[in-house]
Symmetry: C2
Amino acid sequence: MAGRVTIAQVAEEAGVSAMTVSNVISGKPGASDETRRRVLEVAAKLGYRPNQAARNLKTGRSGLVGLIALDLTNQYGLEILRGVADELAGAEQELLVNASYHDAGREKDRIEFLAGGLVDGLLLIAPVLEDETIELLRRRKLPCVVIDPRRLDVPLPRITVDNYHGMRQGTQHLIDLGHTRIAYLRGGEDLESTSIRFRGFQDAMRLAGLEVAEELVATCDFTYASGFRTAGRLISEHRPTALVAGADLLALGAIDAARSCGLTVPNDFSFVGFDDLPQAAQSFPGLTTVRQPLHDMGQKAALALLSLIEGQKLLMEHMELGTELIIRNSTAAPPA
Amino acid sequence: MAGRVTIAQVAEEAGVSAMTVSNVISGKPGASDETRRRVLEVAAKLGYRPNQAARNLKTGRSGLVGLIALDLTNQYGLEILRGVADELAGAEQELLVNASYHDAGREKDRIEFLAGGLVDGLLLIAPVLEDETIELLRRRKLPCVVIDPRRLDVPLPRITVDNYHGMRQGTQHLIDLGHTRIAYLRGGEDLESTSIRFRGFQDAMRLAGLEVAEELVATCDFTYASGFRTAGRLISEHRPTALVAGADLLALGAIDAARSCGLTVPNDFSFVGFDDLPQAAQSFPGLTTVRQPLHDMGQKAALALLSLIEGQKLLMEHMELGTELIIRNSTAAPPA
DNA sequence: CTGTTAGCGCGTTCAG
DNA sequence: CTGAACGCGCTAACAG
């Protein structure tokens, strides 16, 4: 119940038809400059604001894009979200953010709800995407782009990063510094990217003629606490000189674990993360990490979704973005 | 163009009128159990989903609540956001999140846009709120609740925390531990809460018979980097034994600054923050801090907004929530 | 360049 | 308890 003034009132006051007002307001052609000026003037005077609901009903569009993130507080998703928001700011679409809280049921619920007509398109960040949910999306014909899917083969337009080469490069950096006993912290096992990153690590090691000691590899959740605990065990029991983590949060937890063991970073121990979250730069020492272009992923995903919404065909169903090694101060040569 | 099926089709298939279908779907009385059952069955079979746009047009509601945060990546706002989201999950309202990026112009733009009919109500986190914007909100009669306003006297329903006693308690904790040379890091000067917190610090000091040395007080932005820089100077030039920060982010930066000066925390130096962001617990050592009930603030704000949307009068225009000192491991007695 | 006609899909009168 | 008609405010299509 925001704008009481209707298009009809403006039309009457300006002495034109409602159609003309509509055209002027939406910036369509087909209205002389003089008419346009008068309509705009009257609209301003009356304080006319188009009624979104009526417009939506007529056009069959809501002007809303849905985004389903895992969790509203993880920086990984939020960096992507920022990219999305930046891209959408140009288009006339607002962003409706939802979280699945890592729960497949809730994810399906939210998708079903949003796909029920609330949004014009959907962006999914690292979703579980059960087959049934995919089927739902296809049946509804809802434009949808997946960012960083858990399984690479989801039959939907998707954006991923080059996890393999990123991790290989990060590992190589430690090898180049002279490390040989390098530990590895795997992220969540339900993501295909976890295996791919690990393969990058393994290959880098193998190609350097180094052994991947089984006791130096451990798996944890994507949390600081999990990284702290798991790395603490790894470090105190097996004494590697460096550690590569499948995510920045894990690396940050691992660094604090090393500290709590009395080690100093990077003199006694080196760490490499993966993601380049804001925290990676805002920590002491700065974290050397493999950068995922999160903001860019968000932008590209939003752009692709917008063209899907406009009814255009996508140039590619799958887009893979590159990674980049960011060297900060958490890595150095191993102690002598 | 999500659900093709209309209420009319369901009505025909079920052999009743549209009216009845509408009543059944919206859970209104006035339909026999038998009819209700059949309608529901047919609706499910046909895959009927009510068209939001049509419903909105008719009811004059959008089912959307707008939230304007400062920045999509700061944890402070996100904790509040989580509270809001949790409360809204129960009501049938979706959340439309926007950011002002600390820009008054953009803030006004966004408010004006959302208030243009897109949302049923608005939640504002620490907004600038120029007079003109407040005027706009009043004119449009848009339900609105402000969380943590920059000026305490905004003429809108608002939720704040007890900054004064919180900070007094945090400071007292250091005094009790035996600290006397305590530095203070002020947050952004455009917030009234910055002065209030400082007054809490001053009073705690004064009441303990301690001097607030001018050179031990400095002002910075609400960022880690600013805390790092400013505290670094304070610590190296004036050698206090403890520091109180007007925000956790500042304290976290300050701790790293101390570390980069070769000090260990808390043995050489103690730190107290304010906020209790997730990072405060997820750092090493854990940060002793004054907890703001951010999640609760979000919930309470959402609840108040919902009742405003329902057209009910608010019990109180201003609600102030308490704070709580959370003692972790960043504080200890001063070095001997 | 402008006006007319006809709904979009729903909820809300009223009668029955 | 149910049905028929109307209209919310806007815009697509066409006519003028």
